[in-house]
């Protein structure tokens, strides 16, 4: 008989030798054993196999292991007592810890809020705002926006909105200054004071409307290429804090003046400052491409070439006679 093909008989025999059968089942198995010598032989094999394994002497754990377990139990009981004491102490200090944790969290939230406000706040000028996304393969080093506290002149403090200081430096001081003088003389919508205390330097304080400023910037455009350095300083809400736009262009000055709130003016000035700093280290075509992609509303006007020192325009441009909103200080200096 192949017992592998009769697993039920094998199971019965095993249960028989393990005394796990009911009396009826036991009687049936005994009858089978009596009638079938193959089954009887198999039963003896199973019994011998079981007896062999059961004969293995019990292994005792090594003495050091038993000692280790005893130590473990002692430590455990000591630890349990210590744990109870710790629980009582912990409960006592829990409230203090919670209060401290809450204080720290509140402090951190406050600091975080201050940092966020500093970054996105309206008058923030210190953080570099990158308005231009450069071409993917080109990553220029952007010069941070130059923001610094400058000496505030009497003129800059005199009027409410739109205070600017435009500093222009040129190698052709005489020609350019003559052009500016003539421009101002022929623009009756501009009120201005000219101060020329030292050679090679002219200081103009101009009070005008936004339209008047736009017209003046348009008129200055033809000589703009004659300036080696152009710098616009725009006052922020914070007293004594300014945004400086290096390499500023006439159109940018007009655009900034056109903004109806200080926040917008500062934001635009910051953007121009960033754009111009990028432009200084970036080829023109890349700059234009980047500018047009990211800020289509910002345009770069071409720089006309000065062809004449005279200007004959006397017709008032649109809005030139509107209410005075701009107080601009222009400083033209030549090279020393």
């Amino acid at each position: 008989m192949n017992f592998e093909q009769n697993p039920k008989i094998e199971e019965l025999l095993n249960s028989y030798i393990d005394d796990e059968l009911s009396s009826d089942e036991r009687s049936q198995v005994q009858r089978l054993i009596h009638e079938n010598p193959t089954i009887a032989q198999r039963l003896k094999q199973l019994e011998r196999c079981k007896a062999l394994v059961s004969s293995l002497p019990p292994a005792e754990p090594p003495a050091e292991v038993v000692a280790g377990i005893k130590q473990l139990l002692r430590n455990r009981s000591t630890g349990a007592i210590a744990s109870e004491n710790a629980k009582q102490q912990g409960a006592r200090h829990l409230f203090i810890r919670q209060v401290m944790a809450a204080s720290i969290i509140i402090g951190l939230v406050g600091i975080f809020a201050a940092v966020v406000y500093k970054i996105v706040g309206p008058a923030e000028t210190a953080s570099p705002i990158v308005a231009v996304q450069p071409a993917p393969a080109f990553k220029p080093e952007v010069t941070p926006v130059e923001t610094k506290t400058v000496a505030v002149t009497a003129a800059e403090n005199s009027t409410g909105i739109g205070i600017y200081s435009l500093q222009l430096q040129t190698a052709e001081f005489a020609a350019v200054d003559a052009y500016v003088n003539k421009l101002l003389e022929e623009s009756p919508w501009l009120r201005y004071e000219a101060t020329k205390n030292e050679p090679g330097k002219s200081d103009y304080r101009i009070l005008c409307s936004v339209g008047g400023l736009e017209a003046m910037m348009s008129d200055l455009a033809p000589v703009w290429s004659k300036f080696d350095s152009t710098k616009l300083i725009v006052r922020t809400d914070n007293v004594g804090e300014y945004v400086t736009v290096m390499s500023v262009r006439p159109q940018q000055i007009a655009d900034i003046a056109r903004q109806d709130t200080i926040d917008k003016r500062i934001k635009l000035a910051n953007n121009f400052a960033t754009i111009n700093s990028v432009e200084r280290i970036m080829p023109d075509e890349k700059m234009l491409a980047a500018t047009e992609r990211s800020m289509p509303e910002l345009t770069t006007i071409p720089k006309p070439v000065l062809t004449s020192g005279s200007k004959n325009t006397v017709t008032a441009p649109k809005g030139a006679w509107d209410q005075v909103q701009v107080d601009l200080n222009i400083v033209v200096t030549g090279h020393k």
Partner: protein, 193 residues
């Protein structure tokens, strides 16, 4: 459930350290023997015994008195041992002890005689024959883990089928069929030694 064990467990839960020691001392030898027969390595068995005791202490609050402390403790020991063997098998270790067991010719002849003899072996004589014991242990070590565990629980620890089912977390029918296959496999292994 064993009444004495139940009382000790109650005392243990109330923090009686003597109760813990009594229970541990009562079963640690049998647990060690069980683990050793399954893993075939004394060092591993010692470590697993300590792990088992730690688990018992840590989980005594979770022990529900529906089963006996005895089967609960053995279940923890078997699970730890089988899991350990699985991890060991995963990283490619095998029990050296099982492979290096005595290969004595006399012992093998003795084993063959016992297996073919009509009379059952004398347990005392077998226990005295160290080489024969090592050969039997070697045979057990060649079984797969499921068969090894059930043979040890039944034939060495002497548990009944119901207790084995509890320890292994299986049905009674599974215990019967698995034990039957395990014994058949062990006989084949021993005959082949």
């Amino acid at each position: 459930m064993n009444v004495e064990d139940a009382v000790l467990v109650q005392k243990w839960r109330k923090g009686d350290t003597n109760a813990i020691e009594k229970l541990v001392c009562k079963y640690q030898g049998r647990i060690y023997n069980l683990i050793l027969r399954i893993c075939s390595n004394p060092d591993d068995a010692a470590e697993l015994l300590q792990d088992t005791i730690v688990k018992l202490i840590e989980n005594i609050d979770k022990f529900q008195s529906r089963s006996s402390f005895y089967t609960w403790a053995f279940r923890i020991a078997v699970n730890l041992t089988l899991n350990y063997r699985k991890r060991k098998a995963t990283v490619g270790f095998t029990s050296l002890d099982a492979e290096s067991a005595a290969d004595d010719k006399q012992a093998r002849q003795g084993l063959a005689a016992i297996l073919s003899d009509d009379k059952s072996p004398d347990p005392a004589q077998v226990a005295e024959n160290k080489e024969l014991c090592e050969l039997i242990q070697k045979g057990i070590g060649k079984l797969d883990d499921e068969h090894r565990a059930i043979i040890v629980l039944r034939d060495i620890e002497g548990m009944d089928y119901e207790q084995i089912a509890e320890v292994l977390g299986t049905e009674l029918g599974t215990v019967k069929s698995r034990l039957s296959r395990a014994r058949a496999a062990l006989r084949q292994i021993l005959e082949a030694l």
